[in-house]
């Protein structure tokens, strides 16, 4: 066999200094980022936790040993046993199965907030930073007003106005969490708006929207992704907090915060009812934090 083994050749294709196509150049960059990310062991642990959350959520019906709503009043508040690995709650429902199905709710909340709040913040921050003047002043004062409220209290007010439920909880969290992203995006924009490459784009006749979308946003996205990942733990906690207060997911939905609230009456005698969902929140929040730290090392342009 004279042929090179497969793996070095595709690695060479990815790491070449002279890519032949747009796709190869882009994949090469992604590969370099992945190599840097892989060296950070804690970040890899975070990535594994987040991936595990995704897998569990996707395969929830297959993984859960019981139905999350099946009540068995004869077996309520059982400690962890072979039949119920994490015990049962006040209605005799299997806590492990409810945690597994709750992963779907948690993931949905995280995904919806991650897709809305940073995008709103990015648009408002970059437009304010690039346009300056009265546009900047107006947008930033609105941001200041939102920042002046405590996040959970403002979310509570929104949920109270919109009515309890998981969708409204997501909307409330998104509405209350965009201002820090707007601040961050504006700060990044201010540092690059007078750069020569922005002047060069203006001299080519590029319009304001083209410069903001094509030249400024790509440079802000990295720090925003990092910030979003780090904030995801807070989002999970806020959602759990709303659930705990009875304003988020409604029974019998197996939302982790609501599960802690349900276990509150028995927390001294049957600690596992509240502790198991708490543990799940803790692990997933930790996973997002570790992932965010690792992403910052890879993506933050200031680290170059």
């Amino acid at each position: 066999m004279t042929r090179q083994p497969q793996s070095p050749s595709w690695r060479a294709w990815l790491t070449t200094d002279t890519p032949q196509s747009r796709a190869q150049a882009r994949l090469g960059r992604a590969w370099a980022g992945w190599c840097a990310f892989r060296r950070n062991r804690m970040a890899m642990i975070g990535l594994l936790i987040v991936l595990a959350l995704v897998v569990v959520a996707a395969l929830a019906p297959l993984l859960a040993p019981h139905h999350p709503y099946d009540q068995d009043l004869a077996n309520r508040l059982q400690p962890p046993t072979a039949g119920h690995w994490l015990g049962t709650d006040g209605f005799g429902r299997d806590i492990l199965s409810r945690l597994i199905h709750g992963a779907r709710l948690t993931l949905m909340i995280v995904a919806l907030v991650a897709l809305t709040a940073p995008v709103i913040g990015l648009v408002i921050g970059t437009v304010a930073g690039y346009r300056g003047g009265w546009v900047d002043a107006a947008l930033m004062r609105v941001t200041d007003i939102f920042l002046a409220f405590p996040k959970l209290i403002l979310a509570l007010a929104f949920v109270a106005a919109l009515g309890p439920g998981i969708e409204n909880a997501v909307i409330a969290i998104a509405i209350t969490s965009w201002p820090p992203y707007a601040r961050l995006a504006r700060a990044e924009t201010l540092t690059i708006r007078h750069a020569d490459f922005i002047s060069a784009a203006r001299l080519q006749g590029a319009s304001g929207p083209r410069i903001v979308l094509g030249h400024i946003m790509p440079l802000c996205v990295a720090s925003l992704v990092v910030r979003t990942t780090l904030d995801m733990a807070g989002v999970i906690l806020t959602a759990a907090g709303l659930g705990f207060l009875g304003l988020g997911a409604q029974p019998p939905l197996p939302e982790w915060g609501a599960m802690i609230a349900a276990g509150r009456q028995n927390v001294l005698e049957q600690w596992w009812v509240a502790a198991m969902p708490g543990l799940a929140i803790f692990v997933v929040s930790l996973g997002f934090n570790l992932l965010g730290d690792g992403l910052r090392d890879v993506l933050d342009p200031k680290g170059d």
């Binding site: 150049a25 490459f197 002047s199 060069a200 001299l203 080519q204 319009s207 030249h215 170059d304």
Partner: protein
């Protein structure tokens, strides 16, 4: 002289308001003929780059009259202006977007002006500045300073402008790379009949590339002369002669003889 390509009359540029108002350029008038290369020389803060930024449209706060290619310009420029007049910046490390590949950098002006055959244009532009097609999909961090400046020149030329403004295009580069870029610019000027305005503090660079030059000090135009006259040492103004002496190197006697021209 045929109609000038660049006609600048009593240009004044001021920054700030009230007590903090600083007049950076005060009543500069000059004409650059079609196909001519014109040098603007002066020390740091003399206002030479400010003149260039006003001409390019980057600085809207100027008064006076400015006409390019026979068309009077205002603070706001049309798309057609940008197709006529392009600029190359001093620092090739700051003038290329760090996350855009060479391909994207060169495709952007083509897309903005809605020109056809983007692939062909990019290939031609890269070949013209002496970079092969292998550079097309690289990112700026994979290029040297000289290669970056070639990409910046290719970006300026891809719209086939008639006027090229050069803001110290070689001062951030090694001496050997400087010569390469100057040769490239001379070749491109001959090939396209470009009108160039070169801003530099380096008299040697200006003498190498330009036909005529103007010396600026404290925002005013001190003297205008041809490069031949400069070579023959026929500068009339004492400031120009001092600048010439400074460019020939320093010794104690030269440094002691310098005075401040207010």
């Amino acid at each position: 002289m045929s109609a000038p390509m660049i006609d600048l009359q009593s240009l004044q540029v001021a920054f700030g308001h009230g007590a903090q108002r600083v007049v950076a350029v005060d009543g500069v008038s000059l004409r650059v003929a079609d196909g001519e290369c014109y040098g603007l020389v002066g020390e740091s803060g003399s206002g030479k780059s400010t003149v260039l930024r006003a001409v390019s449209g980057l600085n809207p706060d100027w008064t006076g009259r400015l006409s390019i290619g026979g068309t009077d310009q205002t603070a706001k420029r049309s798309k057609g202006f940008f197709k006529t007049c392009q600029m190359v910046f001093q620092d090739p490390y700051g003038s290329l977007h760090p996350r855009h590949s060479v391909d994207r950098i060169l495709a952007e002006p083509v897309a903005i002006h809605g020109l056809d055959d983007a692939d062909g244009r990019i290939d031609r532009a890269l070949r013209e500045v002496g970079l092969g097609p292998s550079f097309r999909f690289r990112y700026p961090h994979q290029l040297s300073g000289g290669q970056r400046q070639r990409v910046a020149i290719a970006r300026a030329l891809i719209l086939e402008p008639r006027v090229l403004l050069l803001d110290e295009p070689t001062s951030a580069l090694d001496v050997s790379v400087q010569a390469e870029i100057l040769n490239l610019l001379r070749r491109l000027r001959a090939a396209h009949g470009l009108t160039m305005v070169l801003v530099s503090h380096n008299l040697a660079v200006v003498a190498n590339l330009c036909d005529r030059l103007a010396v600026m000090n404290r925002g005013r135009l001190v003297e205008e002369l041809t490069v031949e006259a400069l070579r023959r040492g026929e500068a009339h103004q004492p400031y120009t002669r001092q600048l010439l002496r400074a460019s020939q190197g320093y010794d104690r006697a030269t440094a002691d003889s310098f005075r401040d021209f207010a």
